[in-house]
């Protein structure tokens, strides 16, 4: 396709500044109408106008790029409030007097604003942690319930820890140890394993049975989510047992007797410690 004649023609017809002002609706009405009329007969100029309009839209999207940090608005509002409260004092007093008295008068406002900000931050953090904790508990339970359905087949079906553990190599950004069959509590059997995601991070999902009760054990890296420390111990009739090692976070979910679940988690923790 030969472009040159089209470009020459369009340049002659509509100069770039005019085209730019036209798409911004910044030309006087008469000039705007004149161009609109020209566009009805000039294919090249119409394409350029279309292209320029699309570019304008793309710039509008790309230019809206930097969002303020979530706490920035709270900081700003606190600052404005303290400024507002301090303002009348400063206005009434003469300059020298104001210099002497404005500091004590400013202090309560500043402290109030600071206290409000701290309170807001603390309650937000608390809410966030509670929210995350509840979300995590729900996620754990969902995944455990999914494994109970008959259609769910784990990627690794094996009772042998020497088969299960190597399967995770290269699939997880961390490693872990599995207890030997003899080190497991009585009537506790490893059934298989799967790779999953928990709270947005990769996790090893191990399947055990304790006295015919299904158990899901999630192993994640501990450092990735340091704030999540407390989970409810019971949710919807299922026990959630959490333990941590220097590197791992272990969460077990089951409807088995909590004491038996404790034993399994303890054996897993013990397996992580160097022999």
């Amino acid at each position: 396709m030969n472009q040159a004649p089209q470009t020459n023609q369009s340049t002659a017809h509509l100069d770039p500044d005019k085209l730019s002002a036209f798409i911004d609706g910044e030309l006087p009405p008469a000039e705007q109408q004149g161009i609109e009329q020209h566009l009805t007969t000039c294919h090249a100029c119409t394409l350029r106008v279309l292209s320029a309009t699309r570019l304008k839209g793309a710039i509008a999207r790309a230019g809206q790029r930097f969002a303020p940090p979530p706490e920035a608005l709270a900081r700003l509002t606190a600052q404005l409030r303290s400024q507002t409260q301090a303002k009348p004092q400063l206005q009434v007093e003469a300059k020298r007097t104001a210099r002497i008295y404005s500091m004590p008068s400013l202090r309560p406002a500043v402290w109030t604003a600071l206290a409000a900000t701290i309170l807001l931050t603390v309650s937000l953090l608390g809410w966030r942690q509670l929210h995350q904790t509840n979300t995590l508990a729900a996620e754990l339970l969902d995944q455990h319930l999914a494994t109970l359905s008959t259609g769910a087949i784990p990627q690794v079906i094996s009772t042998d820890r020497h088969t299960v553990k190597p399967w995770f190599q290269g699939r997880l950004p961390f490693s872990f140890n599995l207890p030997d069959t003899t080190a497991l509590p009585p009537d506790t059997v490893l059934k298989g394993a799967d790779l999953t995601y928990l709270n947005g991070q990769p996790a090893a999902l191990l399947f055990f049975t304790i006295h015919k009760h299904e158990v899901s054990v999630f192993l994640t890296q501990r450092a990735a989510r340091p704030t999540l420390t407390t989970l409810p111990s019971i949710r919807a009739g299922f026990t959630l047992q959490t333990a941590t090692t220097p590197d791992l976070r272990i969460i077990a979910v089951s409807d088995v007797n909590p004491a038996d679940l404790d034993l399994l988690v303890a054996s897993l923790v013990h397996a992580q410690s160097p022999a």
Partner: protein, 205 residues
Amino acid sequence: MVNAQCLPVYALALLPRNLRLAEALRTMPSATTLSADFEQLALPLFASLYNHAFWLTRNQAEAEDLVQETFTKALRAFDTFESGTNFKAWIFRILRNTFLTTRAGIGASRTVFLEDHPDTFDTATVGATPEDILIRLDNQAALHTALEQLQPQLREALLLCDVEGIKYKDIALILDVPIGTVMSRISRARRTLRQILLPQFGESL
């Protein structure tokens, strides 16, 4: 201390100037109403001002400081704002003037910009059809890079127009330049963007 409210009007003239002014301001219904009005107008613009401040400073902490200072100054000067005029343009002008007093702003203002430089981008779309440009516009990363490469003066005018939707006459106020300069900066910015975007994708598109 003299209680100005108890004095007859003519006696106000005898009061020290500072006290008279302060009293006048205090008795106006505006002290808290003004700040409430200010917040109502200004706070919805926070995200826009921050975005623009970031483009100017290219730094998160500096952008936040710049916006905070802008709000402080704007609130202090809010009684000089003429209602009925464009508040957005007014506060963006304060933002820009505040930026120009910062170290980065002083550096930027020293950059010589040749407004009347002969147009070297005259046939910016030579070799590419408008359709080619359309395809490239889907690539946000390329657009971001292109915007970053744009001269700050051109980018500033373009963002005020396309992102903030501010009219040329108000952009002229914000940037303190004639309206013709605004028009040519925006036009030049768009042509430069096209020039930057074209070679990245070759002519095969």
